[in-house]
């Protein structure tokens, strides 16, 4: 037990540092969840409304995105739980990741762990145990807040057990993934790589869940993320998935403990290999950026290719909805059906275009953000004291980020096309995908230019980009489901071309976005040339 000495003290210190982060996340996660629940009764109260949305949710496209929906009679509460559980599971996992990395590797990197373990009577396993407890507290708070809040909304068709099961399922999946993150934190020695491992694992879990949901939901048990879909909220209220998730969390924690005991401080189980002692390739900021981005870049491209291909591989199922209805088939004739199938597929593509566009912005913005990270971590002082202008530096990151975002978007769309066309009889033409690509590009450029503007004049507020991006995505994604007012929908850049390729591109909107982007970029460059660099 000596190994755990002062765990509670560490936990207190961790919470003292993270309380604001936890509070903000909890307000956002639990708050929006309850708000959606409260609004649901109004939108999906009547049987007619339920039937309309049920049809959308039963389409393979939506199943691929948010998971399965039970057969038989649907209630408001059932629609709610099916629509929310996977999505909120994802968000909560992202929250847990950010917390787990900061409290494990992040803390060690900053030298805090060494100080605490080396100079104070704190047990060797106290920091990691405190990390696990902090995550447990955060998730328990989430479950309680959402549970109580959702209960008060009193959705038709809901029962208390189902509501609590839903709230606890999302908390449990977050905790389990957070605990797995603690394993990765023992394997590699820096927080950036821990995050890479985390998201690779989450990506794999999501893909397995998606593919199995669409093809054969029995196999969804293969993915821990899929377990939460199996709880049968409000119908059977199956608690097994919760038991499994908590067991998984415990096993992961024990593994992390075992790995932690067997490694040195500041080191990872996976050793850092030596490299070449000379370089001809590295010549300046541009080549340096390429070098630093190579593994992240390849992971993104590979990940987006897999994601695109997985969405593409269900193209045939998406057409089948129409095929399944013989009366309709007869009525429309073969060409009519093909037309129907195609328009179904095209709306699927435009929906996915928005998601790929969101991810492309994340990929590009992370590159541009790097410039500020390097400034804050004092890497930049070695470069900027060479004969390189600030304009050149910012331009390098801007161009690289934009091109990278475009490449990532292209890869996702066209691997979807390749995989999709291989499973359907009548290929979808290249031009449809190309149109989506062209319509999303201005949005990507706009978001990246917002970040350039922020880094130039107010780097403290650069995280605003993620709030804007998340907000825009939420508005376009939930906007129509939630019956939001039109003006609110129009705020999101994604709104303007969300019907492409079914409709043609709104060039006016695209041009406006580009004009605003150019202005923001100019402002950013002027600001960047005028401000003090941090150290």
């Amino acid at each position: 037990m000596e190994q755990y000495t002062r765990t509670m003290l560490m936990l207190k210190a961790d919470l003292k540092r993270d309380w604001l982060k936890i509070t903000v996340w909890l307000i956002a996660l639990a708050g929006v969840f309850v708000a959606v629940a409260a609004k649901f009764d109004g939108i999906y109260g009547s049987a007619k409304q339920i039937n309309t949305i049920a049809e959308t949710l039963r389409s393979k496209a939506m199943v691929a995105l948010v998971g399965t929906i039970p057969n038989g009679h649907l209630s408001t509460a059932l629609i709610f739980s099916s629509e929310m559980v996977v999505f909120w599971g994802l968000f909560n996992i992202i929250f847990n990741y950010s917390l787990a990395v900061g409290v494990s590797r992040g803390q060690e990197e900053s030298g805090l762990t060494e100080m605490v373990l080396g100079g104070h009577p704190v047990g060797r396993l106290a920091p990691i145990t405190a990390a696990a407890l902090e995550l447990l507290i955060a998730n328990a708070l989430f479950s309680v807040l959402t549970g109580v809040g959702t209960m008060m909304t009193n959705m038709p068709g809901s029962n208390n057990e189902g509501t609590w099961l839903l709230a606890i399922a999302i908390g449990a999946v977050g905790w389990a993934f957070g605990m797995i993150s603690l394993i990765f934190a023992q394997l590699v020695a820096d927080s950036h790589n821990v995050s890479m491992y985390n998201y690779a694992f989450l990506g794999a879990a999501y893909l397995v869940r998606m593919v199995t949901d669409v093809s054969n939901p029995d196999y969804t048990w293969l993915s821990p993320l899929g377990w939460i879909e199996k709880a049968s909220f409000y119908v059977d209220n199956n608690w097994w998935p919760i038991v499994m998730l908590i067991a998984l969390a415990f096993v992961a924690f024990v593994v992390a403990l075992a790995l932690n005991v067997n490694r040195d401080i500041d080191a990872g189980i996976i050793h850092v290999r030596s490299g070449k002692s000379r370089s001809r390739f590295l010549r300046g900021p541009a080549t340096l950026l390429m070098w630093n981005q190579k593994s992240t870049g390849l992971s993104w491209i590979l990940g987006m290719a897999i994601l695109g291909a997985s969405y593409g591989s269900v193209f045939n199922s998406i057409g089948k909805i129409v095929n399944a209805n013989p009366a309709m088939q007869k009525m429309m004739g073969e060409s009519g059906i093909r037309h129907m199938e195609q328009s179904q597929l095209l709306s699927y593509i435009s929906l996915l275009g928005i998601i790929f566009g969101l991810l492309a912005v994340v990929a590009g913005a992370m590159v541009v953000n790097r410039l500020f990270t390097e400034e804050r971590r004092s890497y930049l002082q070695m470069v900027i004291t060479k004969p390189q202008s600030r304009t050149y530096l910012l331009l390098t990151y801007l161009i690289f980020g934009t091109v990278f975002a475009a490449v990532v978007l292209f890869v996702a769309l066209f691997s979807m096309m390749a995989a999709g066309n291989s499973v359907i009889t009548h290929d979808l033409a290249f031009k449809y995908f190309w149109k989506v690509f062209i319509s999303i590009l201005p949005v990507v450029v706009l978001f990246i230019s917002i970040l350039v503007g922020l880094i130039g004049i107010a780097p403290k507020f650069r995280s605003l980009i993620w709030i804007l991006l998340g907000g825009s995505f939420m508005i376009s994604y939930f906007g129509s489901l939630m019956d939001m007012p039109k003006w609110l929908l129009k705020i999101s850049p994604y709104y303007w071309n969300k019907r492409v390729p079914v409709e043609s591109i709104n060039t006016d909107a695209a041009l406006w976005m580009l004009v605003i982007a150019v202005i923001l970029i100019v402002v950013g460059f002027i600001g960047y040339n005028k401000r003090d660099l941090e150290s």
Binding site: S274, P387, S535
Partner: protein
Amino acid sequence: MNKMKEQTILDVQNLQKNFGKVHALKDVNLQLHTGEVLGFIGPNGAGKSTTIRVILGLIRKSAGSATVFGENAWKDSVKIHKNLAYVPGDVYLWPNLTGGQTIDMLLHMSGQKHSAKTDELIKEFKLDTSKKNRTYSKGNRQKVALIAAFSTDVDLYIFDEPTSGLDPLDELIFQQRVAELKKRGKSVLLSSHILSEVEKMCDTISIIREGKVIETGSLEAMQHLTRNVVAVKTVSPIDGLDKAQGVHQLNFTNDQHTSAEFTVDSDQVGTVMALLTKSSIVQLKTTPPTLEDLFLRYYHSDSNQKVGE
């Protein structure tokens, strides 16, 4: 540029820098001439790094002027940086590069090449250049930056507390390399909070305290700043010590006058030692004055006045 004599390489006049309400620099004046090594000393937090960051064009001055090679440090930074090498006090390097790759890249960015001299420096500093930067200690990261700087052929070298992570052997190599730069007519700005380090290498010394340069001069002119503190015990009473040249602040710690504490000018150490030996030394301790001692001793009256005002 080697042939230009006594040309001003670096000229800082009445420099001020405010961070919001904090006046980090109040009045900084520095001049560095061709072939000169300028020591820039002051306690931690006095404004050494801030001054250097203004000189490098990383941050903007609030008032005054800073010119390097006669060019504006902020506006013409790119031009200035072509002819300058800089080693920061805390060296942070991209974790995924090896030390060797970092050195080659830094050289390339200055328009230089990995030369025989680079290899010589790597060998001398005993740096394993195939290791990733993330595995290096603070001292090793500093070595990477020093190797790149010393094998860069430029006119001005700026070192900001460069030896804070080095062991004594590497410190010696550093001192030799600075001497070599000086021999080749290069100009060096060396900031430090260790007086003895600056003493060994610098022609001119500027002292900064609380954002103000309070004294500038040659080492000889500042001889009074480099007194050693001596504590001694002898068998017989030390006679004549109070009259000996270069002895200050004498204080006998016993009535027999066989135990004393005093300070002595560096150039008088020999004669004073001879005097002490006559009384048979039992115990002797000398310590070079710390900067804090100096400030306390020489600017005490100054702060008293402030209190009185």
